[in-house]
Symmetry: C2
């Protein structure tokens, strides 16, 4: 008999990616399609089934243990995506049930950052750890908290929204309607936003200036690598806010490590060095010099698939 495989599906705002994964974390097949451009969730799911079903048949449906799905605002308990601001459809979408029906296998849902945390615990930087945090720095900021070896889902399945901790009282307006959320400063979008503001308010010489209006986190990283002063200051500013915010989270769950993942984390030590420095400066003494600040070692494109697939075992 062929080896058992789990299907991992990562639903993002623009792209949906999937893969068939062995119990040891090898991806034997992967694919992707656009999340957008479908009339409704049912049409989207039908298109996904058209893409995936031939592969399930190829590997033998009897060998597929089930599907794990990661999606923004995905709820583990209800299997529903609830009010996800960056998804093409709003309201409540029973995605786990729809996937199970469309694919003919059982399916579990969780949010994308929780899936990344499971992926890190099973296959990545958190192997062997029982207490850690994964923080995703992408369009927004997501997080998955693991304590006692278990993901913290909370009583309703919605735990782990570090991106919506208020880092700056009365700060920037967030997509959630409140002010000063961490993700308005410390996401890939947030650091670009800071850059645009500074380019408007300030007159320093910077190689970012010609790109005003279209700054990305990647551009800021490249400018910093080239020695640009404003770019370095952007990482310092962003790392300070992220660092003191994770210091508060450490006081709650006392993790062995915080693992950063996603677009802005690809800047590596440019962002992680100021994060670590400002975290340490804001930690209660009993936590100092204990918490590892790590960059995810999983390939970005694979981690979400691996994490989602791990739900199915």
């Amino acid at each position: 008999m062929a080896q058992p495989l789990a299907l991992g599906i990562d639903i993002g705002g623009t792209k949906t990616a999937w893969g068939l994964v062995t119990a040891t974390g090898d991806i034997v097949m992967k694919g992707s399609m656009a999340t957008t451009g479908h009339d409704n969730p049912a049409a989207y799911m039908a298109a996904m089934a058209d893409c995936i079903l031939p592969h399930l048949q190829q590997y033998g449906i009897e060998n597929i243990v089930g599907a794990g799905v990661g999606a923004p605002n995905g709820n583990f308990f209800t299997g529903e995506i609830v009010f996800a601001p960056n998804m093409p459809w709003h309201g409540v979408i029973p995605i786990a049930r729809m996937a199970a029906e469309a694919l003919g296998i059982k399916a579990q849902l969780t949010n994308d950052a929780n899936a990344a945390a499971i992926g890190e615990m099973m296959y990545g930087a958190a192997r062997g750890m029982k207490d850690f945090i994964v923080v995703t720095l992408g369009t927004g900021v997501g997080s998955g908290f693991v304590a006692n070896g278990q993901l913290i889902y909370g009583h309703d399945g919605f735990a782990g929204e570090l991106g919506h901790v208020i880092s700056v009282r009365d700060g920037r307006l967030c997509g959630c309607g409140r002010n000063g959320c961490l993700e308005t400063y410390a996401s890939a979008t947030g650091i670009a936003h800071t850059a645009e503001m500074w380019l408007t308010e300030r007159t320093d010489d910077t190689i970012l200036r010609p790109h005003k209006g279209a700054i990305t986190a990647k551009m800021i990283h490249e400018a910093a690598e080239a020695g640009d002063a404003m770019a370095n200051e952007l990482f310092e500013y962003t790392g300070k806010i992220l660092g003191y915010t994770v210091a508060d989270a450490v006081a709650i769950t006392s993790p062995e490590a915080i693992i950063f993942f996603g677009g802005l984390a690809r800047a590596g030590d440019r962002i992680l060095e100021p994060v670590k420095r400002h975290m340490e400066a804001n930690l209660l003494n009993i936590y100092q010099n204990k918490v590892k600040i790590l960059q995810s070692a999983l390939p970005d494109a694979d981690a979400a698939i691996l994490g989602a697939s791990a739900l199915a075992w």
Copy 2:
């Protein structure tokens, strides 16, 4: 054979209390002694053994399943009290081992707020809950976080220091050496501190004024009950800081309830109503109108003993 009993010991900065507790939470015997006035931890422990051993013999040492000890900065993993600022002895004290040797029974240590959380889960307002937070509002602010039905100890046993989350950036100096910690504002000591500052800075008419220099949380509660405007404003101000800080904690663990305990919590709705209002005003929409704000239903004097005893089962 007589029923099995667990010994619960609550070590406070001034008083040490203990009790023998049945599996269903009945305290069959209790006692107390001063924590202070002993030359060193060994002398303190010898005095405690002198008080407790006759009772263990009375109920039959073979019926005692063990001792649970709750103490400030008590570490579950190491059994040590570590750098507790409000204790008569500093440094690292291996209290679990000392208690086990002095009493001749096995002993487990945890911090006082974690003990309260276990007490609430087994015998109090959190019965049947798997995800909740207990916050103690005493001389300082302590907390115990429960997720998936388990206390969050963190990788090193020091999780759950909500009192040292920074509520006000560059705010009041804390005993820990940092600035703006929640406990500098929202403890029994913190609200009294705010009152003293206002009495110095302001000239309003208030029945608190004659007590300037010796204000307590209890006095502020009584003044508020008597309709005093400044006393009410003190609860509003303190409740706002506590409310928005617990809103951030909700975004991390998404608890079913937050249970308040200790001196300032005895003010009941005077403090809990503004806490709930400001928490709701600062919650991300997915958490709104879900999190219960409760006052502990356990008698203050008993809860710590019950919680500590629960460690022994």
